[in-house]
């Protein structure tokens, strides 16, 4: 039995000995070092590019947009983001030129001898400026990249029934993914082909982008993922740009080229979590029952469309939260600004709206004078209930379970009673406790998975091993390990007999991107189906060879009627000798009855949801307004945990990122430029900022996931920020509507509270 066991992670040995090869650990013969020369204005036009005549350029390879053989666009949703600026600059640090030299020192020196001059325009830097329409439009007629409307029931009627109408506005900031391994790629030119390797989540995104930029057929572009030091969404779409930059230099130089970002470049130029403004107008009965909800979302998409429409979609679908309300109207817009494109980051729109819906629940409870836990219990979704998009929840609904577990384990009710009544301590500190309840749809939204039809497979090798063939990447979350567990379990062989083919587009099928909490639930299911197919073929082979049609594969042996027929390894070897290699490829198909209507934006937005409840205990220093998170207790329903230890690691890691989101992480901007683009001044949680965590995994099995598994990657990102804000409210009475809750922001909220009183 492999599933449910805490086996040692597949690539663990290499990671613990320093032997794992990340992209910057690889050096090739004749390799050059590349660098990106970037625009230093937020908006305008390049008037001239000049290369210092006194500098020796003979040793430097230079590329601009004219060197691109194909179309000058980074392929994603819309062809609007150029690989290199042609003339118009739309954000600070936008790539303009590429240079490469034999050493890092030489390329840095060369960069100092390039001068770019501009004609500047007034940039649009905020959501408010984008909507005001006072500055020259950046996108379409009104700067709006995308709109969504989700409507259910009749909100007019709902508000007419309501005893109270409660309004709130919530603001959420940019957040940097801050994987510890900076982005990097090596490109190797071939004879009419290109190979790119590097740090990435989605080899096939890079593959598609390279093909378009270089006019290459499928097999002439090869993309290989190297050991990747964290992604969190930050290595979903941006690696396509770096890969193409390295490839362009390599193509021109006819030599391998490596580009590694330093931390400042990585923070300045790559994608962030979308900031946003979320407004709630909620109609409630006096007992707390929600009867109408109007929610308006505006996200800042940055300078190009990139993945923004998809982020906005997820934000819209999750905007009401895990609550019942029959009359709902959700309007959502994403706007264009002259800031680097915002993109994928764990949670993908959901953490933004989760802060808003949970703070709105706190506000409603406070205004009605009822307990916020009771308010949540009264309105929470359960099995058979219907979501904002009209989806009836038919299976694997762990809502009650996670709530009960988080509340009882944390002693939330007792803590809240004590905290509210207690005076400040002698050193002027106050304690508080807060709760958040949240959900997350796993896999692509709507018909995304049905359209994608993710492929994955397994190969049975002549050495008697099973090898997983999938485009899904290991980025720390445990992809390699859980895929091997799933295959071992399905085949009935040992975990150690299963291995993973490193993602390489010339060797693995397109399993879709490693995003959206889909790797285990969606691709893992496809891997399971492929293993089932391979097993059937081996069983037919054994049936014939041994005249045993009833043969089974159990613990690495083929058995029939209690009799041992052969070892798996021997059968595998014989099969391959006689029939050639055994490769089984399967494709994803949506579970029966899952339907989505793209036009009305209604139906089954996701095949299933994961559920979470989280309690934060905080201490607030009433002199300095610093907030310390003492403990987080969380219960999360992720379906069957294929590897409980790895799953808990996902929950703990995501939770701490969310603590950073709620308390610490903030970008400082100056006319479109990120000022704090260093680890000295962009602060992420250290071990001393990390609270004690108690994690409970609830396993409400999902019938269409591998062995009942659902998604876990993103769910934990949704809870901590609102739980901490609720705890601060409990501790101080200050209601914070904007994160991160820095001392300055808390001080302002306390002053506002004092004025009201």
């Amino acid at each position: 039995m492999a599933v449910g066991q805490n086996v040692l992670r597949k690539e663990g040995y290499e990671k613990l000995t320093g032997a794992a090869r990340y992209i910057d650990d690889i050096t090739l013969d004749g390799m050059m070092y590349g660098k990106t020369i970037r625009a230093k204005i937020a908006r305008g036009r390049i008037t001239s590019v000049s290369f210092d005549a006194g500098f020796d350029w003979s040793r430097i390879v230079r590329c601009d947009c004219r060197d691109i053989p194909g179309k000058n666009y980074v392929l994603l949703i819309e062809n609007d983001q150029p690989l290199l600026v042609e003339s118009e600059v739309r954000h600070y640090d936008e790539p303009v030129l590429l240079i490469a030299a034999d050493t890092r020192a030489e390329v840095e020196e060369a960069a100092r001898h390039i001068r770019i001059e501009y004609e500047e325009k007034e940039p649009i830097l905020t959501i408010e400026q984008a909507l005001a329409g006072e500055r020259e439009v950046l996108y379409g007629a009104d700067n709006v990249f995308k709109r969504f409307l989700i409507a259910r029931g009749d909100t007019d009627e709902g508000f007419a029934q309501a005893d109270r109408i409660i309004e709130g506005e919530y603001r959420v900031p940019h957040q940097e993914q801050l994987y510890i391994e900076p982005q990097g790629m090596i490109a190797i030119p071939g004879d009419g082909s290109l190979t790119v390797m590097g740090s990435m989540q989605c080899p096939y995104y890079v593959h598609k982008a390279i093909k378009q930029l270089f006019n290459l057929p499928d097999e002439r572009a090869i993309v290989i993922q190297t050991t990747t030091g964290g992604g969190f969404g930050g290595k979903e779409e941006y690696p396509s740009t770096i890969a193409a930059h390295a490839a362009l230099l390599a193509h021109k130089a006819r030599r391998p080229v490596k580009i590694i970002y330093d931390r400042a470049e990585d923070i300045s130029a790559t994608t962030k979590r979308h900031p946003g403004i979320v407004r709630h107008r909620t109609g409630v009965l006096s007992n707390g029952r929600l009867v109408a909800s109007e929610i308006d979302i505006v996200l800042d998409g940055g300078a190009y469309v990139t993945l923004t429409p998809v982020v906005l979609s997820r934000a819209s679908i999750h905007a009401l939260g895990p609550y019942r309300c029959d009359n709902v109207r959700i309007t959502a817009r994403a706007v264009a600004t002259n800031t680097p494109p915002n993109g994928a980051f764990r949670g993908f729109g959901a953490p933004q709206v989760a802060f808003a819906y949970e703070m709105q629940m706190e506000r409603i409870a406070a205004e009605l004078g009822i307990d916020s836990l009771e308010l949540r219990r009264l309105n929470m979704l359960g099995e058979g209930d219907i979501t904002a998009t009209g989806q009836r929840l038919t299976w694997s609904v762990g809502a009650q379970d996670v709530m009960n577990e988080a509340v009882s384990r944390s002693r939330y009710v007792e803590l809240k009673k004590d905290a509210g009544a207690a005076p400040a301590t002698a050193d002027n500190k106050r304690r508080g406790v807060g709760l958040a309840f949240f959900f997350h749809g796993a896999g692509f939204t709507g018909s995304g998975e049905a359209r994608m039809k993710a492929a994955a497979g397994i190969e049975i090798t002549a050495e008697g091993r099973a090898r997983v063939l999938a485009g899904s990447t290991e980025i720390g979350q445990g992809t390699q390990t859980i895929f091997c567990q799933i295959v071992a379990e399905e085949l009935g062989i040992a975990f150690d007999q299963v291995e993973v083919q490193e993602p390489d587009t010339s060797r693995v099928p397109d399993s879709g991107p490693t995003v959206a909490s889909r790797t285990c639930m969606v691709v893992g299911r496809v891997v399971q189906m492929a293993a089932r197919d391979a097993k059937q073929r081996l069983l037919s082979f054994v049936a014939e060879a041994f005249g045993a049609p009833e043969a089974e594969l159990i613990e690495g042996k083929f058995v029939a009627g209690g009799r041992e027929l052969a070892e798996f390894t021997d059968v595998a070897r014989d099969y391959v000798e006689q029939n050639g290699k055994l490769v089984a490829i399967a494709r994803y198909a949506s579970p029966p009855g899952v339907e989505w209507d793209e036009d009305s934006y209604s139906g089954d937005a996701y095949p299933v949801f994961s559920w979470g409840a989280e309690v934060a205990e905080v201490e607030v220093d009433m002199d300095t307004f610093e907030v310390t998170v003492l403990k987080i207790t969380t219960a999360q329903d992720i379906g069957r945990a294929i590897h409980p230890l790895l799953a808990a690691g996902q929950i703990e890691g995501g939770t701490l990122q969310a603590v950073g989101y709620g308390l610490l992480e903030e970008l400082v901007w100056d006319r479109g430029r990120i000022v704090n683009n260093r680890l000295t001044n962009y602060i992420i949680p250290t071990s001393l900022d990390a609270p004690e965590m108690e994690t409970v995994i609830i396993e409400k099995e999902y019938p269409h996931g591998p062995f009942g598994a659902k998604g876990v990657g993103e769910l934990p990102m949704n809870g901590a920020a609102p739980a901490i804000a609720a705890a601060v409210f409990n501790a101080t009475g200050a209601f914070v509507t904007e994160i991160p809750i820095t001392p300055e922001r808390l001080q302002m909220a306390l002053e506002k509270k004092a004025v009201k009183e």
Partner: protein, 152 residues
């Protein structure tokens, strides 16, 4: 300039500019790429090595300063391919996810356990406060160091 020092028990001599970062000397001249660069300014700890018993960010040290010292990098922890108990504990407890902070974490933990064989959880937190991890929330790293200390 020729500089001599010991790395993982072996005497090494490199010919490098005196101000070249120790990190680059380890990675480029000695091809010991287990030591990582995450920020280049001493904030993330991915480049931690032990120099004469002390944990140091190798991105902040010019190589001329390490002449005649004894340096331990992540490559020096396992012997003959066998993981040492601390590495084994990281593997068993889930202390390594993406693995990029792991070499530095192991080094910080090794130095702690060398000085304090039975640290409390708070002492462990303090010892790794200069090593950033974005994957684990630190829980399982602390678990691993605690487990290793119990096996000491």
């Amino acid at each position: 300039m020729s500089i001599q020092f010991q790395v993982n028990g072996t005497a090494r001599e490199v010919d490098a500019p005196p101000m070249k970062r120790l990190l680059d000397v380890l990675r480029e001249d000695l091809r010991l790429t287990g030591t990582k660069e995450g920020c280049g300014e001493g904030e993330c700890g991915a480049c931690s090595v032990i120099i004469d018993g002390e944990v140091i960010n190798s991105c902040l040290v010019p190589v001329c300063q390490v002449a005649q010292t004894r340096i331990i990098t992540v490559e020096g922890l396992a012997s003959d391919g066998e993981l040492e108990p601390l590495q084994r504990a990281f593997l068993e407890c889930g202390g390594a996810q993406c693995g990029i902070c792991t070499p530095g974490m192991l080094i910080a933990a090794r130095a702690l356990l060398d000085m304090n064989s039975q640290p409390t959880r708070d002492e462990i937190k303090e010892a790794i406060a200069g090593n950033l991890c974005r994957c684990t929330g630190y829980v399982k790293i602390i678990d691993a160091i605690e487990q290793a200390s119990k096996e000491n």
